[in-house]
């Protein structure tokens, strides 16, 4: 038996989630900035919707435009879903994990957090914005690389992987939920050309542009994009792939490490995998993509709660 503290398991789960969240947020903001220049402010509002922050956002800001949304997510320390808040939370978890994480991993999280503290509104204008988002993405990926190269694949690593994949699945469903409806041609414009650049932007926000192209080549349709992000067997951010990863990690914890927690999570994950393999994207679009994504999100939250209860209770 290992001797991983329950508290440390929770810290590993959360440090992975927060870093993944930061990377996704940086990508979403960067893509929105790039592709919204010639379209309406709707795309900035969608960032707020993706994060389900309408209430807290409009308490502070009247309109969702570039300066307000960027400020809210990149700088606002009172916004629980902002970059500084997530970095601070990742830092807190990493700090508690310092005896466990490699020194380089801690250094990376520490530097990220400290770097971001020196960022101000003036850094986020013009080309500075893209540069900072890029740096943030790079830093998150460096962290992931350090974990890959230095973190033993022991029990603790499994909680890290579960946290990472849970956050990925959650983020992809949020992104898809908001953008899909935003980008669908309106009813009175049926037959109008699909705005390919916007769908490509969605794929880029999910870091799946090349991966999608390779599978679908020249074909581009809303259903194909949604189907890819939900069902791809091999794309590391697809919901199917993430759920399978979580399921595998949990099985390992229960078999190889003989832990008894997580039974309820296992049942829910089995159900999700069954549903994901039975349904087609056409069927889902027909019966309601939003409802389906909502179901996935609720399920993921329930799995997270089961895992917490089973392995790292508060």
């Amino acid at each position: 038996m290992g001797n991983l503290l329950a508290r440390s398991a929770g810290n590993l789960f959360w440090v992975a989630r927060y870093l993944e969240r930061v990377e996704n947020l940086a990508r979403t903001i960067e893509i929105t900035e790039t592709f919204s220049r010639d379209s309406s402010a709707r795309s900035w509002l969608s960032v707020v919707q993706i994060n389900a922050d309408e209430k807290s956002f409009f308490e502070k800001h009247e309109v969702a435009d570039a300066p307000s949304v960027i400020g809210f997510y990149m700088l606002d320390p009172d916004n629980p879903t902002s970059v500084p808040t997530s970095l601070q939370a990742a830092h807190q978890n990493a700090r508690a994990l310092r005896p466990i994480l490699s020194i380089e991993m801690w250094e990376q999280v520490n530097v990220m957090r400290n770097h971001w503290r020196s960022v101000s509104a003036s850094d986020l204008t013009g080309p500075g914005m893209a540069r900072l988002c890029r740096r943030l993405r790079d830093q998150c990926q460096v962290a992931e690389g350090i974990v890959e190269g230095s973190f033993s694949h022991d029990e603790g690593w499994h909680y890290y992987r579960i946290g990472k994949n849970l956050e990925r699945a959650d983020q992809i469903t949020r992104l898809l939920d908001i953008k899909y409806h935003l980008l669908l041609p309106s009813v009175d414009a049926v037959g109008s050309a699909l705005d390919a650049s916007q769908w490509n932007a969605l794929l880029r926000a999910a870091n799946g542009y090349q991966a999608f192209r390779r599978v679908y080549q020249g074909r581009l349709s809303p259903a194909a994009v949604a189907g890819f992000l939900l069902f791809s067997d091999s794309f590391p951010r697809s919901v199917t792939h993430c759920v399978r990863q979580i399921s595998y990690m949990l099985t390992q914890l229960r078999s190889r490490y003989r832990l008894s927690g997580g039974t309820a999570a296992e049942d829910k994950l089995d159900e999700m995998r069954a549903v994901l393999s039975d349904l087609s994207i056409e069927r889902i679009v027909e019966t309601g993509l939003h409802e389906f994504l909502d179901w996935v999100q609720t399920r993921l939250a329930a799995v997270a709660a089961d895992l917490r209860d089973g392995f790292f209770p508060d």
Partner: protein, 485 residues
Amino acid sequence: MGERGIGGLMAGYDRGAFFCELTSQRTSNEAEIATVLARLGALDFADLSRRSADAERELFNLGITFTVYSERDSIDRILPFDVIPRLITADEWQVIEAGVIQRVQAINLFLHDVYHDQKILKDGIVPAELVLGNPNYRPEMQGLDVAHGTYAHVAGIDLIRDEAGIYRVLEDNARTPSGVSYVVENRTLMMRAFPDLMADLRIRPVDDYGIRLHAAMAAVAPKAKGDPQVVLLSPGIYNSAFFEHVFLAREMGVPLVVGADLLVDEDDTVYMRTTGGLERVHTIYRRLNDEFIDPEVFRADSLLGVPGLMRAYRAGKVALANAVGTGVADDKAVYAYMPRIIRYYLGEDAILPNVETFICREKEGLDYTLDRLDQLVVKPVGESGGYGLLIGPKASQAELDEFRAKLKADPANYISQPMIGLSVAPTLNSTSVAPRHVDLRPFAVTGQTTWVLPGGLTRVALREGSIVVNSSQGGGSKDSWVLGV
């Protein structure tokens, strides 16, 4: 005392009336010291400053910091690091090592006696009220036997060096002396930033501290089926010394736990909460003061401790390091009696002398102190961190008057010592390399026997003329090199 030929970067260096840890004449390692001086002298100021800035940035990035809290924010600060090393010769180290071991032995024998038969009090060597009336005396420890009679598993003995180059003990730290993480990290940093300065010198390594500490923790553990489970108990991530706790846990390879991770069952056994359930814990290296470790016995409002820990400790089911109640041995008032304590238990003279100390609770001591207030250093016995002390020769008349009143009101709370001209070491500042006062804290680790980490923490008072080396008051640190024989 001769002076070495120094040039280049060191050309304008003047140690004044003080002993210098780099340039004063020594009894051994002449060749190595000359080499270091020549290499230092050949460095150019800009290069040295750049390497120094790099080193400090690295400390910050690695989070080798202590945390200062304000209302809204927390600020991580590094302990300022001076890149010019302090040298300790092989001869000097022999004396320090033997002296520290002797002192730790005496402290452990004293604590065992205090918590058992109290012979030393009955024989009138140490005033009974000084021990029994001490706020750090823990009656809960009476009659409890600790493994190998070791109470102060980790001790830090603060040394200073006077004008004649004699090392003297300034203070004993037998509770939770901190700073060892800086010793090891400073060395790592020096090896990276100054390979050219260190090349071919046989400097005694410091990186086995964690292994030695773990061995001591295992040596005092109650019987276990397999290897005993050692943990480090920290107050948590908000503690300003959290980095050191991380360092110690990491170097020992043991879990860092907080109070909530542990529990004591009805069997008086200590367990930690793991993902697989409860696991037995045998030794706790605790970095939590006595009054916080067990709300059932000490401060009831403590959320940092573990209810029932003292029960488990008394039942012999868990070892605590350091033992509870060691604070009676490192009290500044008891310090004055340490030479007599050593003689009482070991029949030897102290290898490392004390700084001459006048005990203001005794009439002669008080009179002597009041007569020469402007020449003495007066310290409150209960404080640490350099707070509340008077440095007579540097105080204004108003400060002297104010202190005189405080002293008269509560003489038992003070001791006084002559002003020692602390040794200096060349230290980099923004414009030059200049002498700054230093002290030295060697760390002793005791399980069954005592091992002393070669060197220790050199603290340096970065302000010109200052003799206060505490980090809270403008102190920094240096790497301390013990040269090989």
